[in-house]
């Protein structure tokens, strides 16, 4: 099914001025100003549910930084390991659990019922319905992991929200929400909203809830396999790498790094394949609210000719399960990696993904090579 944002992106395409990687910020989509007002109202309402002490724990300054850095945290495995998160000012995100890489803010488990509902309402206000469902599925996965037994902090209660800056339309502010396998950095600046960098993931990738099977990041998996299958033999030869990729290349701590791209180039794809690629990218770009995502999809479409799709690993997967293949999408305004993970023993049940914009991170426009 074509992503609903594709149609919107076409109309928004005319609004942006873009020259390769030097893209000007796209014009806001219709409704984006109202979206910002709603997001700010939700954040303010959440803050008002908190005590003064709690507000001090959840609110932080949001000052522009030249670049995010890799920050190491000691802990876990009886203190025998240190873990890396990406730190931007006081904000921190990572693929690791919060017991290994502490996130600034308040964990859901530290909030009472109304406070937790208000926190989740902030997420609903800044994310699309599909994006919110994706977040719920990721947290549900970690809850299932927790109930199976872990020696680190796991489960929904550990997901943490932080508010950086003053919610409103006057100046940029950020909502950071995350925990194990989740790192969202949503920056709202006037009528624009961005969500790079971001991390999603799951372990277990398939679990049962309320008698139903939930497969986390299933569309990210299935759409990628569909795109691979839609390539011609010649295109597939370009796309499929002849080496193994065992982890994220541009995970936490790699802000500003742009690697030499590999794979099949968007310019070599036909119209249907290009739509499939954009639709796949939309699984990350569409996590944020539609009003913010529409101009983002337009800038991604504008850079599609220069966007590469690379694949490493098995080219088929079992129905109802994610595959064991790594893939990367890399263009002037996007880096996406989907990296199955060995820990846990089953590559199809543990995955990390990262989503970046080489030209814009944490709401800051960057120079790119």
């Amino acid at each position: 099914m074509k992503h609903p944002l594709l149609a919107a992106s076409i109309t928004t395409l005319a609004l942006i001025a873009c020259r390769g990687a030097s893209c000007a910020a796209p014009a806001a989509a219709p409704g984006a100003a109202a979206q910002t007002r709603a997001a700010a109202a939700a954040a303010q309402a959440f803050l008002q549910t908190l005590s003064v002490e709690q507000r001090g724990q959840v609110q932080f300054d949001f000052a522009p930084q030249p670049k995010a850095g890799a920050a190491a945290f000691k802990g876990g495995m009886n203190g025998r390991m240190s873990f890396v998160g990406e730190q931007y000012g006081k904000a921190v995100w990572s693929n690791y659990p919060v017991s290994d890489v502490p996130r600034p803010g308040l964990a859901l488990g530290k909030l009472n019922g109304p406070q937790r509902q208000a926190a989740l309402h902030v997420l609903q206000a800044i994310l699309s319905a599909k994006g919110y469902d994706k977040v719920q599925a990721i947290m549900g996965s970690d809850q299932a992991l927790s109930e199976g037994g872990t020696n680190y902090a796991s489960g929904i209660a550990h997901y943490t929200i932080g508010i950086f800056g003053k919610p409103g339309a006057a100046s940029p502010w950020m909502v950071q929400f995350g925990g194990h396998h989740l790192g969202l950095n949503v920056v709202i600046a006037g009528a624009r909203g961005t969500m790079t960098p971001a991390l999603t993931g799951a372990q277990p990738a398939v679990y049962q809830r309320d008698g139903k099977t939930v497969r986390v990041l299933a569309r990210e998996n299935d759409k990628a396999f569909d795109l691979l299958a839609a390539l011609t033999p010649a295109q597939r030869k370009q796309a499929v790498l002849d080496y193994e990729v065992g982890d994220l290349v541009l995970g936490p701590g790699h802000d500003g790094d742009t690697i030499v791209p590999e794979g099949v180039k968007g310019a070599a794809l036909d119209a249907r394949q290009r739509d499939m690629l954009l639709d796949l990218i939309g699984e990350w770009a569409g996590i944020i609210n539609d009003a913010y995502a529409a101009p983002r999809m337009a800038e991604l479409r504008a850079g599609l000719d220069q966007t590469y799709f690379a694949w490493s690993g098995p080219q088929t997967h079992e129905p109802g399960k994610n595959g064991a293949a790594y893939y990367r999408i890399q263009g002037p305004r996007v880096v996406i990696e989907f990296a199955p993970q060995a820990p846990g023993g089953d590559l199809t049940m543990h995955v990390h993904t990262v989503y970046r914009d080489p030209a814009e991170a944490y709401g800051q426009v960057r120079a790119t090579p």
Partner: protein
Amino acid sequence: MTPGAGPRTLLAGCAVALALVPASAHAHRLDEYLQAATLRLAADRVAVHLRLVPGADVARLLWDGMDRDGDGRLSPAEQQAYARRVMDDVALEVDGHPAPLTLVTWSFPTRADMAQGVGQISLGLDAPLAGTPGAHRLRLVSRHRPAPSVYLVNTLAPADGAIRITGQRRSVDQAAYDLDFALGSRD
């Protein structure tokens, strides 16, 4: 139910873990050694950054070899000694000729951290390039394998417009890497 889409009332409901979840799930590498190399190319030099992340079980093995005097601390000399061991196992060639790597920067977890275990080790290496215009080939091979290893090797997109990457090849496990590039004339 649409794959990947969960009900929006998760917190009100109960997530039930069934047999699909392993009894003891590990979030981290245990017995693998992640060795990630990132190359940054300039006209007259190549910088190689090694990010070494031992799994928990590997960390203990490494520590025993690094803390040579067994005092429970990792001295600067011991840090450099381990860096040299890694460098002895890493070979760089440019246009078929060995290119000696120089250790420029290194960081290990703090002494207190190291007393508890090994974390991420970062080594910054450097080698000069002749800077001759034309086509060149760089080859990086790592034989550093104190434990089962996962290798990653990538080159950052050059900031210098006179450098053009023309090809990359890797062994299946990424322990060996060939990079073809062209240097434009500056005249």
